[in-house]
Amino acid sequence: MKLTHRNNTIKDGDGAAVGYRQYKMERDRVAFLIFVAPALIAFILIMLWPMINMFYLSTMDWRGLVKPKVYVGLANFIRMTRDRHFLRALTNTGIHTLISLPGVILPAYMLGFFLSQRPRGYRFLRLVFFSPAMISVTAIAMMFVGVYLPEGILNTVLRGVGLGDLARPWLGNTSTVLYAIIAIDFFGGLGYYAVLFSAALTGVSNDLYEAAYLDGAGRWTVMWRVGFPLILDFIGVCLMLHLIWILVGAAQNVLLLTQGGPGDYSMTLGYYLYSQAFKSYQLGYSQAIGVVIFILGAVGLLLIRKVTQRDYQM
């Protein structure tokens, strides 16, 4: 039975055994390929091939599906530096990332830690916190149409508590529109990550907490000094997921709610890519934006990995 174990545990020069081992390895390799092939082929065809195509198209000037493609090298990328809508989109996506990444994940961690302490009613809280995750992004966007309406719920509440001066058409105002869109992340994402963090923290051995309490540490300290480093890896995973959402997923809120307006004040990279491809028919340019998103994503993910990698022991 040990045959299947690590390849190089050959005892002494037993030629037959080596031959069998060789044969078995060969056979395993073929079996492996047969089992992996469907998934591999499908993935290469439907994900990897379009990805390679994206890089290829980003070097083309291509203005419509039935138009000729013209190779232009890096011209599309040079054009970005002069395209104020692109620059606005880049800035807005930057703002979105800076607000939403820490703004959603850190409070979510705190709520998650609170939940993991099993306070009275935590089951109910967990249920409510996780509810938005069960509502599709489209449905949430449609809900927020009503929330942000001039006569919508946000303005009604503001007027109700005597802050009527703040009431405004949130999605129609150049200074609030971007933040109104970012705020939707908090509705959907916060509770979702909080519940996931609490699940991660439940796996943490209680002894570690006890030891800290015995040392006289308070809850707050334990939360940040004990719990946080322990699930830092997992927090990193959630940061990555959220970053991907910000870069591409959030385009759908812009598409559904403002189409980048008023003016271009709510333009984001993801939506600009969509709009260039399907409204302006600038296919090459749109895929160059895709490449930028891809690179930003890759850099962001590497950074997150770097930051959240555990380089110290508890």
């Binding site: 395993d28 390799r29 079996a31 089992f35 992996v36 469907p38 998934a39 499908a42 993935f43 439907i46 994900m47 990897l48 195509n53 994206m54 198209l57 409070p107 709520l111 302490q117 306070p119 509810s131 995750a133 069960m134 509502i135 599709s136 992004v137 489209t138 449905a139 449609m142 809900m143 149409v145 009503g146 006569e151 919508g152 719920i153 009604t156 509440v157 509705f187 509770g191 996931l196 699940a199 540490a217 809850r219 707050w220 995973v237 959630c238 997921l241 591409v248 759908q252 559904l256 993801g270 890519l273 969509y274 491809a277 399907f278 296919l283 895929q287 934006i289 895709g290 998103i293 890759a298």
Partner: protein, 287 residues
């Protein structure tokens, strides 16, 4: 008695538990309100007309009229959309397992130096922002003659989420003790038999996890469905966005559509709550 109570109180205050809990509850209540108030607003709006929604946004409806739901169904053809969404989701789930399970088995169970390589390939593939390559994907679907047909989503969704499914399933398969497999092998079972008869049932926790994560993704996906589907074949999410009409917005109808789309999923969630949270969590941990 009083002593020990006092002592306990001091102790509690010292480790900050009370203050911490108060803070936690306040934060939780605020967040619960953020979630519940818009939901409440949607629920009551679904039974009102525009005039009532604007004049008294937070007042409950005077009567439970279903007219908004009927209009929403008619305008968005939600019934049909529901069918398309179900079709895409179910077929996508099946395809996802058909592709991912054998691959995960091979990665977790067949000893070869290729395994680590392939697993790494897939775990990197997890991070591809598929939306960024919108144009090549449309081209591909056009070449495959699948454009505007539900089959395009049936193909795209599982493959797009394949890395997650494979990595999660492989992680579960690794927890299955080898002995069962080995004794089956001695009994002369083929790999296929082992896969289907032994491992598939034993890894069902992983299978369920994958099914849950995929369900949420497939069911809720909007952007690809918008681009790759015809009006005739629009999914639930696309139909929902149609309700926000171009010329005038009937907010009551929109709210009814939102309710229509979330209630079935939410009921399923209430029933399988633990499983869903656990599934998504382990998906995130292992992915």
């Amino acid at each position: 008695m009083t002593m020990s109570y006092k002592k306990r109180l001091v102790q509690r205050l010292r480790d900050g538990k009370t203050i911490f809990n108060i803070g936690g509850y306040i934060a939780s209540i605020i967040y619960v309100l953020i979630i519940v108030v818009p939901l409440y607003y949607v629920i009551i709006s679904a039974f009102k007309d525009n005039a009532q929604i604007f004049s008294a946004p937070l007042t409950p409806p005077s009567k439970l009229s279903l007219v908004n739901f009927i209009n929403a169904e008619k305008t968005g053809r939600l019934g049909r959309a529901l069918g398309i969404s179900l079709f895409v989701t179910v077929c996508g789930e099946v395809l996802s397992l058909v592709l991912a399970f054998p691959a995960a088995y091979a990665i977790a169970r067949i000893r070869t130096n290729l395994a680590a390589l392939v697993e790494r390939f897939f775990s990197l593939g997890f991070l591809i922002p598929a939306f960024a390559m919108l144009v090549p994907l449309v081209l591909l679907m056009a070449q495959l003659k699948l454009l505007y047909k539900p089959l395009s989503l049936v193909l795209l969704y599982p493959v797009w989420r394949l890395p997650l499914a494979i990595v999660v399933l492989a992680a579960y398969l690794r927890t299955v003790p080898r002995e069962l497999e080995e004794s089956a092998e001695l009994d002369g079972a083929s790999r296929m038999q082992i896969l289907l008869l032994i491992l598939f049932p034993l890894a069902r926790a992983g299978v369920i996890t994958v099914l849950i994560i995929n369900f949420i993704t497939f069911w809720n996906e909007y952007l690809f469905a918008l681009i790759l589907m015809s009006q005739e074949n629009r999914t639930m999410q696309v139909a929902l966005s149609i309700l926000k009409g171009e010329r005038s917005v009937d907010y009551g109808m929109l709210a009814a559509g939102v309710l229509f789309s979330i209630v079935p999923v939410y009921i399923a969630f209430l029933i399988f709550q633990e499983r869903v949270v656990e599934g998504i969590y382990s998906g995130a941990v292992k992915g």
